[in-house]
Symmetry: D3
Subunit: 137 residues, 6 copies
């Protein structure tokens, strides 16, 4: 009997969308305000979803205290109150778009969560813009 | 590497649920308050989801500025501050239920968004009632 | 020992902003899209606040079940799934702006709530537009 | 032409997570604060999703007034303002974790909703913790 | 130059509304479902507001990290995952209505926050019911 | 007959809390993570409240389309997708705390809004931290 559990968390970060292989003109044309050389920022709202069997001994798919703690240690500590471009090594060669941030979060958590659990990420960059990874059709 | 991106937007409209082939009694029985001949209205909250490959050059599945603008031009301009039954030709012969509004929005946007992107619609008619189209099992 | 209690409720209605003493041009200039002759509509979110002494016997300022029922009988029954301009007599000679709707709600409830309780109204017409009556500086 | 419709509702309940086959030490270790012998409680936010064909006569997948009433009769009446462990027979031998509450709600509603409709449950136990049943990968 | 700062926090608790000086009939008549002898519960959302001068050296009215920590130590530790009637001594002789919980929280924090800061409490017991203490007219 | 009207809007920005007159140690001690030299950021949610007489000709305290446009021109254009410390001259000698941002927004809008209207600002820096200016006791 499988169910999915979702844990929401939160981090605040600065970023800039900029492709170093492009001219400034092309960056401005593609990324517009998001290309501001001095950075801007967001309150990111993160949802981490795990899917697995409900353990009949606990009634849990996964202990939410452990999941909350895992997100705190692996994601919030790394991203919260940071400049994603400058402070987070994952984005040295990767544009910190919401899509790429979601992939990075997925890859970090995938290594920490047992493979019997399916994992997916939903990341709200603003109250109106959101990414799901892997894709949900 | 596929991800989904979601853009939320908003429009306010009046509507009435009424089947012209039915008697007034049957309309009242089926649609109740929603059959009010003078209309009532809602703040519709719309989520448009696109699924596709993350472009390694931009980190984007789809440029959210373009998606926001497309929704503004094609949906908000057509539906916002309108009477769906009287002002929107799509509903001349179609009851503007939340289900049918979702289908109409899907059909409009499907023609404007390249076929390589999967498209789906989520429409909140009130904070408690919502439709997803196509169906999500 | 005084406290304030707030009860939220909800109604959906159609309306039109239109001043019958003005020309169509002036109505269009002042009210724009809100002047649509066919109406548009909103999900109104209402907050009713009462202030009074905490009753030591009950721990209540006011029984919230009674307040919820009063709002249901006096406000929701009158406004929900209605066309404010056509179906609600209070707006025969009064433009149903969010400000005036708030005044009408206040006047209705003021007659039903004992004078020892201070009363105020907060009405969200959209998630971004709201009115408080009486004024809160 | 299939769509999904979602109805949100709400109930408040007390519960305790406790496995009677375990020692008090093990219960404390696994369930921590949730094992409080005197119970704690939550405002549960429930989303019920039905998937089916859009009826061309009504524009409905399912009459949302009927769905709201079904949830009220079958779920809210049974769970609202109750102690899940003591007042709800389903949890005599089942730990009332959010996962198990979701399964119980699903099983109750599955019997009341015609089999042509797919059914799923989403239950928020807190604003940060949520379950989906059946699992959504 | 004075400003107000607000910090939101959260706790989950069980409670029961019951006046020991009354008969069971009167308790049932006044408190209804809230009188359930086995308790029910809520996710309480708490807003603590402090008003004072903006310190020109820090730009702060009050260090929000300190305020968050104070709320955690003094309120969340005392109330979260507790039965308010049984586990919290403040409610031995006081009905744990939202009004009285607000007064208790105010009294606890008032002793910990310097008197130069004005203090007020807003407590949501459900998404639809809320108390402000002291009263806000 | 006076009422208050509230308009919500939104901007995203990077900032850093840092007092140039202090040592790095003192900055770190007081501002902690908020002192990150590379900046972090937020989705700021802004509420602008105007209080005045309800105009009997329009039913308006203030035309919300004009207020929305004023906020867009004067606040969003200046702050959105900016680094408050580097891109906004108001913060050259002023720490961009939420309190000081609120004062700056108030001062800008106060010059653009006729003196017959009372003005106040509410600014959410995160979903849990908020400022009101002028102070609301």
């Amino acid at each position: 009997m499988k169910a999915s559990v979702i844990r929401k968390s939160h981090f605040n970060a600065a970023h800039r969308l900029h492709n170093r292989k492009w001219s400034e003109e092309k960056n401005q044309e593609v990324f517009g305000l998001c290309n501001n050389a001095n950075y801007h920022g967001h309150n990111y709202e993160l949802e981490v979803k795990l899917t697995g069997e409900i353990d009949p001994e606990t009634g849990y798919v996964y202990d939410m205290k452990l999941l909350a703690n895992l997100i705190k240690m692996e994601i919030e500590e790394r991203f919260d109150h940071k400049n994603l471009n400058l402070d987070v090594p994952d984005f040295i060669d990767l544009i910190p778009s919401a899509e790429n941030i979601s992939v990075v979060i997925y890859d970090i958590l995938r290594q920490k969560i047992e493979s019997e659990f399916d994992l997916s990420i939903k990341l709200w960059e603003t109250p109106r813009n959101c990414v799901e990874y892997p894709a949900k059709i």
